[in-house]
């Protein structure tokens, strides 16, 4: 690769600066601060990225720029980089057409050379040249040595270090953390656990312990048996002691008892019981007799102390019957009074009703009136129809007559106006037509008057005055009769005045207009006259019909017991009054009947009561009150009789009991005597004393027998009993035995506790043994140990392989160092020898390590510290040139950029070094920056840099 163009956009004090280096050596010359170091930094930055915040674009422009380079495959690529901070910034690789080739192309263009290598080997200034450490970084050192070893960039030392690290991570002699050391510790721990779980030892130990425990258990059983025997002996002594003591006491008591007074055996065993029974019965009979005596006296007193009214008691049935009927009798009395009041009221009402009907009305007449519903219906029914129809016809006929008379009068007046002397007519024109009856004729008057009188009568009747009613009825009857007479007269007159007339024939046939009009008017007069006559006839017929109806009505009134001449309304009202009066009459008769019946019943009862009271010798004004006294006396008499009866009954009972008690007393006395005879004793006390003596001896004998029985039960018979008694006899104080028992119980408790503990231990051992027999713990631990041993073996192999690899690699490197000189070193040695005129012939640099010394031509080894600055710089420059040549051979050459690196060389060596640079530039592009005009370099091109310093 070579740089064809350096284009600075903005970088440090440089701005918009473009340089075009030559393919070979280009001398770039400028004064101090002309920007040479900045350009060096610029080239480094474009190729590998910016240093952090170094070289900001102080003169303006955008920080960065580009290099146009020519690659090994003859391509032109613009490497462009911009950025304000450190790092890659914005990197672009463009071809000649401006197409972006992508940033990945850059490492390939640089042949894998990294920043560190480039900066120290290819682009360096005096400062980098003087530092040996720049050449001893691993990657550069690897370049130096790897070049000849075929290991490329790989450092053998790095490999060794890697292997050593891997190895030490597996195992360290004194380590704790490496995996194998950890495993060893774990294996030790597992071994300890496994030893602790050693089955034979545990099993034997457990078995041994179990045997010991079983022996101990046997011993405990023996001991327990001895304790049990002792406890049994002591318990026997303790239990037998009371009997032993009782035995001694009974024996003593028996010896001290007097001889028996009676033959106890001859006396029946139950004699004392029978004696006590007989004595008790005797006492009971005596006490009972006394008690019954008292009861007898009391009963007699009760019986005799009561007075009884015997007569009353004898008639008590009648008394009770009367008393039972007494309330009804009292009620009858009350009812009689009430009925009398009612009767009087009814009688007054009937009299009033008869008075209202009129004079002459009494009960007999009243009973003749037909007040049936048929009669009442006839008044409102057939008679109403016939009478009203006749009256209406009569009225209509009269109205017609009046109308015709008016017309006739008009017609006559018209005729008279034409002919003041009209021909004679059958009727006088000035005379009104005769009618059967005027409107105010006798019938109408009667019809008008009758209601007037009837109304007055009714008003009076309503006022309750019967006389007025009768008077009203009479007046109405009179008016009715007058009316009928008037009507008949009027009808007769009317018929006579309205006889029809025929008009004159001459009037009809004449041609005189006046005559014609007179004839016409005369015709009308005739016509009306005819009509008047017809109407009169009709009125007459109507009057006759009315007359017939009124006749029938009068007949009906008479037939039904009503006064003649009554109109229908009055007749109906009279019928109503008669009905009411008859009802009052019937009620009066009913009350009187009931009053009579009750009066009869009461009188009968009072008679019976009076007779009863008289029988008792009692006189009472009011028999009913007398019966009330009887009621009281009868109750008292009955009570007294009951008391007397009960007293008599008690007396009988007591007397019977007294007899029975006497028998019991006798029986008890007899039994007592027999018992005393049986016991050979005179009295009860003697008998009891004799028996008590006998019983005491028996009791003592029994005590002796019981005590011996207890002892035998505790010890056994015969010799055992003797031995037991002997043992008992040795006891001075029973508390000693109790103490012994307590002691034995304590010993026994302790023993039981030990036994339980032993059994528990035995169980535990048994379980432990069973657990050992079934336990997989040991196997599991061994499996774990085996697993770790396996891992250990695997790791050991890995460690062994690594260790062998490392050992043989180190051996290889040593041999290689001896037998091979790296080309880089060889070339550097050649250059150094040329520059120093053969003074230094060999560079000593162990494989992969820093350069350590130079060997002079005379064989003297000069350490780096012993070199002058110039010589040291010449050594490092020679090393760099060797590396550059090496790169050139191994890969593509890269541009070499140097900044005044010859300043510390003496002129001769500078001259020789300059020749070497010129020679190098024939194979590699070299950009040499200098501020010295006399730099001994023959460059292909020279670029002068303007002074950038201000001013």
């Amino acid at each position: 690769m070579r740089i064809d163009e350096i284009a600075v956009d903005g970088f440090g004090l440089l701005r918009d600066r473009r340089l075009a280096p030559a393919p070979g050596l280009t001398l770039i010359r400028g004064a101090n601060e002309a920007g040479k170091s900045t350009l060096l930094a610029f080239v480094r930055s474009i190729l590998f990225g910016f240093e952090t915040k170094s070289h900001p674009a102080l003169a303006g422009g955008r920080r960065g720029g580009w290099l146009t380079v020519r690659t090994g495959d003859d391509r032109t690529v613009r490497i462009e980089r911009y950025g304000q901070t450190g790092g890659n910034g914005q990197l672009r690789l463009l071809d000649e057409e401006g197409d972006d080739l992508g940033p990945d192309l850059l490492p390939r263009i640089l042949q894998g050379v990294e920043r560190n290598v480039y900066n120290n080997v290819f682009a360096f200034g005096l400062a980098e040249l003087a530092q040996i450490s720049n050449l001893s970084t691993a990657d550069i050192a690897a370049r130096i040595y790897g070049a000849g070893m075929g290991t490329g960039a790989t450092s053998v030392v790095e490999i060794e270090n890697r292997l050593e690290k891997a190895r030490s991570e597996l195992f360290a002699k004194q380590g704790r953390n490496p995996r194998m050391n950890v495993l060893l510790a774990e294996i030790d721990a597992l071994n300890a656990q496994i030893d602790g779980l050693d089955p034979p030892a545990i099993f034997r130990a457990a078995g041994g312990r179990r045997e010991l425990l079983q022996v101990e258990l046997t011993g405990l059983s023996v001991e327990a048996e001895a304790i049990a025997i002792e406890r049994h002996r002591l318990e026997r002594l303790r239990d037998g002691w009371p009997s032993w003591v009782a035995l001694g006491a009974a024996r003593t008591a028996l010896a001290e008892l007097p001889p028996a007074p009676v033959d106890a055996d001859a006396i029946p065993g139950d004699i004392l019981e029978r004696l006590a029974l007989a004595e008790r019965d005797l006492v009971a009979a005596t006490n009972r007799a006394a008690e019954l005596g008292r009861e007898q006296a009391r009963a007699v007193g009760e019986r005799d102390g009561v007075v009884v009214e015997t007569a009353l008691l004898a008639g008590h049935h009648e008394a009770e019957a009367l008393l039972a009927a007494l309330p009804e009798a009292r009620a009858d009395r009350t009812r009689l009074i009430e009925l009398e009041h009612d009767r009087m009221d009814r009688a007054t009402a009937l009299a009033d009703a008869l008075r209202r009907l009129g004079p002459g009305w009494d009960e007999a007449r009243l009973l003749t009136v037909d007040d049936s519903l048929a009669a009442q219906g006839a008044i409102g029914g057939p008679f109403r129809v016939s009478l009203e129809a006749a009256e209406r016809d009569l009225e209509a006929s009269r109205a017609q007559i009046a109308a015709v008379e008016l017309n006739l009068a008009d017609a006559r007046a018209d005729l008279a106006a034409i002919d003041p002397a009209p021909p004679a007519s059958p009727a006088t024109p000035a005379e009104p037509v005769r009618r059967p009856g005027p409107p105010d004729g006798p019938i109408a008057r009667a019809a008008l008057l009758s209601p007037t009188w009837l109304g007055a009568g009714l008003a009076l009747a309503a006022a309750g005055f019967g006389g007025a009613l009768l008077l009203g009825l009479t007046l109405a009857q009179a008016a009715f009769v007058g009316l009928l007479l008037g009507a008949a007269t009027a009808i007769a007159g009317s018929v006579a005045s309205h006889a029809p007339e025929r008009p004159p024939a001459g009037l009809i046939q004449g041609s005189d207009p006046l005559a014609t009009r007179r004839d016409e008017r005369l015709g009308r007069v005739r016509l009306f006259e005819e009509r008047a006559r017809t109407a009169g006839e009709r009125e007459q017929a109507a009057g006759q019909a009315l007359e017939r109806a009124q006749g029938e009505w009068a007949t009906w009134l008479s037939a039904h017991g009503l006064p003649a001449g009554l109109d229908r309304a009055t007749a109906a009202r009279m019928l109503d009054s008669a009905t009411a009066a008859r009802a009052s009459l019937a009620a009066l008769h009913g009350i009187q009947g009931r009053r009579d019946a009750i009066g009869t019943r009461l009188t009968s009862f009072e008679s019976r009561a009076t007779a009863f009271l008289a029988g008792l010798g009692r006189v009472a004004d009011d028999p009913l009150a007398g019966l009330e006294a009887v009621r009281r006396d009868l109750a008292n008499a009955l009570d007294a009789a009951g008391t007397q009866q009960r007293a008599s009954q008690d007396l009988e009972r007591v007397e019977a009991a007294l007899a029975a008690t006497g028998a019991s007393h006798q029986d008890a006395t007899t039994r007592l005597a027999a018992i005393l005879a049986e016991g050979h004793s005179a009295d009860s006390a003697s008998l009891r004393g004799a028996i008590a003596e006998a019983n005491r001896r028996t009791d003592v004998a029994r005590e002796i027998q019981a005590a011996r029985g207890t002892l035998v039960a505790l010890s056994g018979p015969a010799d055992a009993l003797v031995a037991f008694e002997t043992d008992l006899a040795t006891i001075a104080d029973i508390s000693d035995v109790e103490a012994g028992l307590a002691s034995v119980a304590e010993r026994n408790r302790e023993l039981e506790a030990r036994r339980a503990a032993t059994l528990e231990q035995l169980g535990a051992e048994g379980r432990a043994i069973a657990e050992i027999e079934n336990s997989a713990a040991a196997a599991e631990l061994r499996q774990q140990r085996a697993e770790r041993l396996t891992e250990m073996a695997v790791l050991a192999e890995s460690w062994s392989v690594t260790t062998i690899a490392l050992g043989l690699l180190r051996r290889t490197r040593s041999r290689y160092e001896r037998e091979h000189r790296p080309d880089v070193l060889k070339e550097a040695e050649t250059l150094l020898a040329a520059w120093t005129d053969g003074r230094y012939v060999r560079i000593h640099a162990p494989l992969g390590k820093q350069i350590q010394e130079l060997e002079r031509r005379d064989g003297v080894h000069v350490p780096l510290a012993g070199l002058s600055t110039g010589t040291a710089e010449q050594l490092y420059l020679a090393m760099r040139f060797g590396l550059v040549e090496h790169f050139g051979r191994e890969a593509e050459s890269l541009p070499l950029v140097m900044d005044d690196i010859l300043v510390n060389f003496d002129p001769l060596r500078a001259e020789r070094a300059a020749r070497s640079i010129e020679d190098l530039a024939t194979r590699h592009q070299v950009l040499y920056f200098t501020c010295h005009p006399g730099t001994p370099l023959a460059a292909a091109a020279t670029i002068e840099l303007p002074d950038l310093s201000p001013g």
Binding site: G148, M149, G150, T151, T154, V156, I159, R162, L163, F171, K173, M180, L183, L184, I187, D188, P199, P200, F203, R204, G207, I772, E773, N774, S775, A776, A778, A779, E780, R782, Q783, Q784, R785, A786, E787, R788, L789, T790, E791, M792, A793, V794, A796, E797, W799, S800, V801, T802, T803, I804, A805, L808, L809, R811, T812, R813, R815, Y816, E819, H820
Partner: protein, 423 residues
């Protein structure tokens, strides 16, 4: 009269599985821990199912160091089951369970007989009171029995079929303690018809007839060295007295070495599938659970990937997660990377660079080992193997020539990987 019997031995009941790391889940760990017990159960079941006339146990029922009560109870229970079916059992003690060793007071059934250690004695195998065969046997009194016990066996002469029951190393087989050493000719001398031998864990018929000499092997492999089927023999003896031993696998969990060449495997994912497929195929083939020891072999593009840090561990974890998780299970105990880079080591050995120099260095070490010079490598490894505690923990690892050569190969591969520029 024909009859049959089971010939087993080297049960090593309740002894731990070796070679199982701590990562095994509980179900796997439990299965492995109980595997020897379960294989004994299987043997008993075989005897019951086959209705054999006897069961012969040729020593090493237990291990002295690991004789648990659980094991003794389990063994007794098996004998008890046999006895209930009137099947007698004959047992001799071996170097791992000599009679001098501790023993729990667990009574055996009457039909179970253990031979004493004083001299060879014999017991008949009867059927309905008729003797079918006579078992001659002798136990180890102590672990180190160095005398030729086989030579003391002698046929009585009146037995219909003579069986010698013995725990012994015939012909000094390597890898096993040379206890009761004897030769095949020794075994032929005593007039036995069948030698029921124990001690060598790899089963096999040493001699098919006259007499038939058989190692039953151990019925359950317990470490990576005991891969492949393990079991016992069901022996049929015909009326002419010809024995036909038939091997019957009895292992519950089988150690299985599985080689997976990487040559044609382009990616890690493909490698996981290849390993998983191989593991599950192995389970199917075994017909039981297996503990798989996977070796990646060959050269291929993923060799470099495998050598990166943690890649193998991750691979191992993924395979365990994804495969063999059923029942029967496959527990992938290890995945060893024995792959090599795809470079021509012969050519590189001639190169003048550091790698060439290193390869030549390893070549020199190999040559020294071939000459029996192991001191150089021993010295390198002394830091670990001379460490007192580490030495005890690694007592099972012998740094013999073969082992050192293997280590050297691996170390060389490691160096090549580190220095190889082809990465």
């Amino acid at each position: 009269m024909s009859f049959r019997f089971v010939h087993t031995g080297d049960l090593h009941l309740d002894s731990p599985f070796l070679g199982i790391g701590q990562a095994a889940p509980d179900r796997v760990a439990t299965a492995l821990r109980d595997a020897t017990l379960r294989s004994w159960d299987r043997i008993v079941r075989l005897a019951l199912d086959a209705n054999v006339d006897a069961v012969l146990v040729a020593g090493d029922v237990f291990e002295s160091a690991n004789r648990t009560l659980r094991a003794q109870v389990a063994f007794r229970d098996g004998l008890e089951l046999l006895a209930r079916r009137r099947i007698p059992s004959f047992v001799v003690a071996g170097n791992h369970d000599p009679l001098s060793g501790w023993e729990a007071a667990i009574a055996w059934p009457e039909l179970a007989h253990r031979f004493g250690a004083t001299e060879v004695t014999s017991r008949p195998i009867l059927r309905d009171g008729v003797e079918l065969a006579r078992v001659h046997g002798i136990s180890y009194a102590v672990r180190d029995v160095n005398r030729n016990l086989a030579a003391t066996f002698q046929r009585d002469g009146d037995e219909p079929f003579a069986i010698g029951l013995l725990h012994a190393n015939v012909g000094g087989i390597e890898g096993y303690g040379n206890y009761a050493p004897c030769s095949l000719s020794d075994l032929g001398a005593g007039g036995m018809d069948y030698w029921a031998l124990g001690h060598i864990h790899r089963h096999g018929v040493l001699r098919p007839a006259d007499p038939t000499v058989v190692y039953c092997g151990n019925p359950q492999g317990r470490d990576p060295g005991e891969a492949d089927p393990r079991g016992c023999y069901l022996v049929e003896v015909d009326e002419r007295g010809h024995a036909q031993p038939e091997f019957r696998p009895m292992d519950v969990v089988r150690w299985q070495r599985i080689s997976v060449p990487i040559d044609a495997i382009p990616t890690e994912d493909a490698l996981i599938q290849a390993i998983g497929g191989a593991v599950e195929a192995a389970v199917d083939a075994a017909g039981r659970s297996i503990v798989a020891l996977v070796n990646l072999t060959g050269r291929g593009p993923i060799h470099a990937s495998l050598r990166r840090a943690n890649v193998l561990a991750d691979l191992h974890g993924l395979v365990r997660e994804r495969f063999g998780i059923g029942d029967p299970f496959a527990w992938v105990e290890s995945i060893r990377d024995e792959t090599r880079p795809s470079i021509d080591l012969v050519a590189r050995r001639e190169a003048g660079d550091l790698l060439g120099e290193a390869l030549r260095e390893f070549g020199r070490s190999r040559a020294a080992l071939a000459d029996g010079q192991e001191a150089d490598l021993h010295a390198l490894l002394a830091e670990l193997y001379d460490h007192p505690r580490a030495r005890r923990a690694l007592s099972g690892t012998r740094l013999d020539t073969g082992r050192l050569l293997s280590l050297l190969d691996s170390a060389e591969a490691l160096v090549v990987d580190q220095l190889d520029l082809t990465d």
